[in-house]
């Protein structure tokens, strides 16, 4: 373990001195690492709230009929679960938290291109999140439309959809500003020797993601703004009585929201691409193939939105074209999976917690991706559309994919950021519990979906009882695993054993500076990069 020679330092790096005292040193800091941690802990908080709502949904579905809540409460709970998990956890999750924490260091920069704009993004995130929470308790009660805000219901319901759309608009603005900041940073602030093909794959994934954030999010902005305008002043652009067309709402909504699923998953893929080579002690197989597939996913993923609308009354030609395009997205995704497996092949694999989470990403995302093809094919989609099969599918890709990657990133980079290691045994156990709970929960959903159970109802027929109870048991196991993992990670950050600069033996730039990183990342002189991010020989690790 020659790479771990740098002794832990007493210096607390960026966690030490700040420009303002106390909490103001955090909430008014323009340091990308401090902003990253602000994001991280806000996001983890909202994840816990969202997970709790998920457990409530499962409890309601434990038995047919009303179990713990009625239909209206159930509608509000699943809407909230969706809005919180999508807009407050998965979309900002990896880019805003870990992108801010490590991306500037990975390219040898002292900060992002626009540090004050970066702080503004976090403030907008918190304001948007606050408005989303306020919308629950004001107006006509919590929104009950589902996170998709489909018209005409979202225009007609008396619940507080108006405020929720403002919240989504502001959150979208925050996401746009982060994307804009990251693209400019990668273009302008790479240090000497950091050519485009020496960028770590995590940075490449963030770069691709940032373009989708810039190009797709404004369309969501205008779409929710139109819902707001239709509710408040009756602009009627989606109202058939005034010549509008509700299907146009679905088009505009998915023009953003389908690319958005790649905003959610691409950074996760980047995390896995960075973790796998480190723990296989091998250079990333197919570096260029992985980065090009990130760009290809970003591009092709922007052309497939209408596959959410096969049953909405599109023309057959439209369905055929969108189905074909959907299958095309599978190709770059598969390239990535094969490249990760080839990286692992004949590697000296260290089964540390970050790799375990990354491996579960690969397995669960592959299952999620393949079930996506069943939904992408029009004939089978019409059978399973709006059933629990869809719910199982997107939880495999979003939670099994992005969620696992988020946990992998926490276990991979937080020892770096805090300079302290969590208990690896507990982390491994919590990974096992999460994995088992996850599979029981979501595989049951897929089966019950194929049997025909529709989503978004608080009630179901008696035939579905066994599988629903199994799923609810799974959710309990999952929650136990999550609590164990978060407690372990948080204890590790506060009081874990101190670690040196490079606890895992990474070769990219973030592992070459002390843990925790100093305020401006690098010393007096900017680093000069002489080898690629996975060249473990030249980095002196092998």
């Amino acid at each position: 373990m020659t790479y771990n020679t740098a002794a832990p330092t007493a210096d607390r790096g960026f966690l030490g001195e700040a420009r303002y005292p106390g909490i103001f040193g955090w909430i008014f800091s323009t340091d990308h690492k401090r902003i990253g941690l602000l994001y991280l802990w806000s996001i983890v908080t909202f994840f816990c709230v969202g997970a709790l709502l998920g457990v409530l949904i499962r409890l309601e579905l434990f038995a047919p009929g009303e179990t713990i809540m009625g239909a209206q409460a159930y509608n509000a709970v699943f809407t909230l679960h969706g809005v919180i998990m999508i807009f407050l956890f998965i979309i900002p999750g990896i880019p805003a938290a870990f992108g801010n924490l490590v991306m500037p260091i990975q390219i040898g920069a002292r900060d992002v291109a626009f540090p004050r704009l970066n702080l503004l993004s976090w403030w907008l995130y918190i304001i948007g999140a606050g408005l989303a929470v306020i919308s629950l308790f004001t107006g006509g009660g919590p929104p009950d439309t589902g996170w998709t805000f489909y018209v005409p219901f979202s225009v007609q319901t008396s619940t507080n959809v108006s405020l929720a759309t403002i919240a989504v608009f502001i959150l979208g603005f925050s996401s746009i500003l982060t994307g804009l900041n990251f693209v400019t940073t990668v273009h302008r602030l790479r240090t000497e020797g950091m050519g485009w093909f020496r960028l770590p794959l995590f940075t490449w994934a963030l770069y691709s993601t940032a373009w989708i954030q810039i190009l797709a999010t404004p369309v969501l902005g205008i779409t929710v703004a139109l819902i707001f305008a239709e509710r408040i002043i009756g602009t009627g652009l989606f109202d058939p009585n005034q010549g509008g067309d509700p299907i146009m709402y679905q088009h505009l909504f998915w023009i953003y929201s389908h690319p958005a699923v790649y905003i959610m998953v691409l950074p996760g893929m980047g995390v896995v691409s960075d973790i796998v080579p480190v723990f296989a002690r091998k250079p990333a197989f197919g570096y260029k193939a992985i980065l090009l597939s990130s760009l290809a996913i970003a591009f092709a993923g922007s052309l497939v939105w209408a596959h959410h609308m096969y049953t909405s009354g599109m023309s057959d030609i439209g369905i055929l074209v969108f189905s074909f395009l959907t299958f095309i997205v599978a190709i770059p995704s598969a390239i990535k999976v094969f490249a990760w497996l080839a990286t692992l092949h004949k590697g000296s694999i260290l089964l540390d917690p970050p790799l375990l989470f990354a491996l579960s990403f690969i397995l669960l995302f592959t299952i999620g991706g393949l079930t996506g093809l069943i939904l992408g094919a029009a004939a089978t989609d019409i059978h399973v559309h709006d059933t629990y099969f869809v719910v199982g599918h997107f939880h495999f890709t979003m939670f099994g994919g992005t969620g696992m990657a988020f946990f992998a990133a926490m276990h991979f980079w937080l020892p770096k950021i805090y300079g302290r290691m969590y208990d690896k045994t507990i982390a491994t156990v919590s990974w096992g519990v999460i994995f088992i709970g996850f599979c029981i929960l979501y595989i049951s959903m897929k089966i019950v979906g194929v049997m025909g159970m529709p989503r978004r109802y608080y009630d179901y027929i008696a035939e579905f009882t066994d599988l629903n109870q199994l799923a609810t048991f799974g959710s309990w196991i999952l929650i136990v695993g999550l609590v164990l993992m978060f407690v372990n990670i948080i204890c590790g950050c506060i009081a874990g054993q101190k670690v040196g600069a490079n606890p895992w033996g990474g070769a990219s730039l973030e592992w070459q500076i002390p843990s925790p990183p100093p305020t401006e990342n690098f010393g007096e002189e900017d680093p000069v990069v002489t080898h690629g991010p996975y060249n473990f020989k030249k980095a002196g690790i092998l």
């Binding site: 400019t184 273009h187 602030l189 404004p218 602009t235 009627g236 005034q242 010549g243 023009i255 401006e520």
Partner: protein, 201 residues
């Protein structure tokens, strides 16, 4: 914590251009709606367009084009060190924006007095193509008007910075970015004008 002075002009302009892309896409959603509904109701759109007063639109187009000229000239003036001229030109730009909004106010008022506004009973009675045309008219010119207002505020702040020598002949990227934003507001209007006022011609 040292606050290193890091000025990257290309980076700042790059970021601004990316932001302008997002603005175009924001309006893009509405242009898509316009295209689809125009395709569905060509007669309604022509009838609706015929009811708009092309003189209002043409006057506003002239006002905005002039204001864009002013803001471009103000940048050149500042780079030549003529701070007073630059400030005057910026005041001219802001005044033009104000004239645009006043003009818009009268135009909207006359339509509203005829019962044509979103949510009115009248829109439910007229042919659907015309109703959707007027709804689009209010949403698109309204969003554009909002951008004119934001542009005025941005330019006013820039003017203060110029007067206080925070933005100077050596450090003028803020003025240039404000100018870029103003040009975008202008360009969007250049598309809105024919789409709404010149449908008959």
């Amino acid at each position: 914590m040292s606050e290193a002075v890091h000025k990257d002009y290309i980076g700042a302009k790059f970021g601004m251009w990316l932001f302008l892309f997002t603005e175009i896409l924001l309006f893009g959603g509405l242009f898509v709606l316009y295209a689809v509904y125009l395709n569905r109701y060509p007669e309604g759109f022509i009838a609706g367009g015929g009811e708009l007063d092309v003189r209002f639109g043409a006057a506003n187009t002239l006002v905005l084009l002039t204001s864009s000229l002013f803001v471009a000239m103000s940048i050149t003036a500042l780079r030549r060190g003529e701070k007073r001229l630059c400030s005057l030109l910026l005041v001219g730009t802001i005044l033009s924006a104000l004239i645009f909004l006043i003009n818009k106010y009268f135009e909207w008022s006359s339509k509203i007095s005829h019962g044509i506004y979103p949510g009115s009973e009248h829109l439910l009675e007229i042919p659907k193509g015309e109703a959707v045309f007027f709804n689009l008219y209010y949403v698109m010119t309204g969003l554009h008007g909002l951008h004119v207002l934001i542009g005025m505020i941005v330019l006013a702040f820039t003017l203060v910075f110029v007067i206080r020598d925070k933005v100077t002949g050596e450090d003028w990227v803020l003025l240039e970015n404000a100018g870029l934003y103003w040009h975008l507001v202008d360009v969007i209007w250049i598309f809105l004008f024919p789409l709404f006022y010149l449908l008959l011609h």
